[in-house]
């Protein structure tokens, strides 16, 4: 979860706590994802117990996050709903709320983060009126962009996720050539995503806030603008591409190549060519340094114990250990912070010699780096699909390792272990068991 949304979640939670809405309630969180784990951590930090995380994905049900069971939503319907509070920090809030009401849930449901300004499941006149006003603002943004970049084509990267933008940029030349587009501007959310575009050499770039981007996207959809394209695998709501994952495992990169841009199966990606040299050479030991990257938006985290073991292992071998951080992220205990721009990162990890990261967009940014590269995956499924994140986000040329964390009394341990050993026998992923 990015800092802006985290702050919003924190503030909304404080309001809820202050009004007494949480006291003496059974607290549930709907939707297992990185954001819901952060909410669970926040609640536990404040001394509250989360009874369960609800998730429609059968692949996630029966597992745990820090001893919080993940169960199907129906399992709570026979409990006293007056005493329940379901918190939602997922962008599918509207669909989740509708689902719970249709199931007969009559307890309290709270949205703690407004991720999805496109959706409001209502046909009431005031809703339509409000959404028309939003659309009008979007059209004004579109006109402003058109005035600034006259007669250009506009490539919109609608979500602030480095990996999404990386692949949008990697296959953009193919799309531009296919559509005979010569002049274009890349529009992203936030500087980080704009830097990704810069790495690929795209000179005309515009940065918008998430809210402005959402409104611009709506205007592009409504007007069916011929001079704009929304380059994303699951936004906006009109994009049904992710349904392909309901029937087949399709790797993330292929979704961009074929599903977003309509290119052929074997179309080769372009690679970033603009890098900056790492400026911290004198403080970092060449070839004997490990750079860790423990933070991610799209996949759930892995436990602190795993990182402690990794840090301890390499420090015993005499290596320096750094944590790549940005914004308000903190380095892992016992490590040095590495604060470099995205353009410097490849140079930095090549100097270091080893990169070990939780699967995130940062791994895509340095996917061609010449160093030892290890990517760690939690043992869970991607979004509401039945596909493991390790399969969906697999990185060729990397050591792909699934971290399987269990509780000491987990009876399903052997079942999971057998499944992991079969996957390991295929030679595709490595496995770490952590109790």
């Amino acid at each position: 979860m990015d800092q802006l949304h985290y702050n919003e979640m924190q503030q909304n939670l404080e309001v809820l706590l202050a009004t007494g809405a949480v006291s003496e309630k059974e607290i549930y969180i709907f939707g297992h994802c990185n954001a819901s784990e952060e909410l669970a951590d926040l609640l536990m930090c404040k001394g509250y117990r989360v009874c369960a995380i609800l998730d429609n994905n059968p692949g996630k049900q029966g597992s745990y996050y820090k001893r919080i069971p993940i169960i199907g939503p129906r399992e709570i319907l026979d409990r006293d709903m007056k005493r329940m509070l379901i918190c939602v920090v997922s962008r599918a809030y509207e669909a989740m709320a509708q689902q719970m009401r249709q199931m007969g849930y009559s307890g309290r449901l709270e949205k703690l983060v407004d991720y999805n300004t496109f959706a409001e499941y209502s046909l009431a006149p005031e809703t339509i009126s409000r959404k028309r006003e939003r659309l009008k603002r979007g059209m004004e943004i579109l006109e402003r962009i058109r005035r600034k970049y006259n007669c250009y084509f506009y490539l919109l990267c609608p979500f602030s996720a480095l990996g999404d933008v990386y692949y949008a940029m990697a296959y953009l030349p193919g799309f531009l050539k296919k559509n005979s587009i010569k002049n274009y501007a890349v529009i992203t959310v936030g500087k980080g995503c704009s830097d990704i575009a810069a790495m690929f050499g795209y000179a005309d770039r515009e940065i918008l806030s998430q809210n402005d981007m959402d409104e611009l996207v709506q205007a592009v959809l409504f007007t069916r603008a011929k001079d704009a394209f929304i380059a994303h695998h699951d936004r906006p709501y009109a994009n049904l591409l992710m349904r392909a994952l309901k029937v087949k495992l399709i790797p993330f990169e292929v979704l961009y190549r074929c599903g977003v841009y309509g290119l052929e199966k074997n179309f080769a990606p372009y690679h970033p060519t603009i890098f900056q040299h790492f400026s911290g050479y004198d403080s970092m030991e060449k070839g004997n340094t490990v750079v860790l990257s423990p933070y991610a938006k799209s996949v759930a985290g892995i436990g602190d114990q795993v990182w402690r073991e990794i840090i301890s292992y390499f420090q015993r071998k005499g290596a320096q250990v750094y944590t790549n951080v940005s914004g308000e992220e903190e380095p892992l205990p016992g490590t040095f912070p590495l604060r470099v721009s995205l353009l410097e990162l490849q140079s930095a990890v090549e100097w270091a010699g080893t990169f070990i990261g939780l699967r995130s967009g940062l791994c895509d940014v340095i996917k061609e780096a010449h160093c030892r590269k290890v990517v760690l995956f939690p043992d869970c499924c991607y979004s509401d699909t039945r596909w493991k994140v390790a399969d969906f986000f697999h990185l060729e040329g990397w050591e792909n390792i699934v971290v399987y964390e269990t509780m000491a009394d987990d009876a399903s341990d052997d079942r999971h272990r057998n499944s992991m050993e079969e996957r390991n026998a295929e030679g595709r992923v490595g496995v770490i068991y952590v109790k």
Binding site: L123, R134, F222, A238, L240, A244, V247, V254
Partner: protein
């Protein structure tokens, strides 16, 4: 853009009665859905709206012809905001976002897989 109250009421009724409502201008897609053994793919009640079809019922799919004006109004509403996750506008005309059709074009999905994904 003005949506008449009658259309909105009808839309609300349809969203309550059906699990999924598809609006399509593409005769080829409607034909494929009509030929599909839907029970093998989905047990949902599906309503297909289009100016290019004949009224009818096939398995758990209802086909309803609507006017071009209604199609235009519904399309505009659809692209104003996400008013439901049960309603989708499907068009083969290459839009300005990703498309499930591209997966079929690239041979990643077979025609049957494409329809199964669409109705999932």
């Amino acid at each position: 853009m003005r949506c008449c109250k009658k259309m909105l009421r009808a839309l609300e009724r349809d969203l309550n009665c059906y699990d999924r409502v598809l609006l399509s201008e593409t005769p080829a897609l409607i034909s494929v859905i009509g030929q599909l053994k839907l029970s093998e793919v989905s047990d949902e009640k599906l309503l297909v709206l289009s100016p290019n079809i004949c009224q009818g019922q096939s398995q758990n799919i209802t086909f309803r012809q609507i006017s071009r004006e209604e199609t235009c109004q519904l399309t505009k509403l659809y692209f104003t905001y996400e008013f439901s996750d049960q309603f989708h506008f499907i068009s083969r005309n290459d839009g300005n976002y990703a498309s499930l059709y591209y997966m079929a074009d690239a041979g990643i999905l077979s025609p049957e897989e494409f329809v199964a994904a669409l109705l999932s």
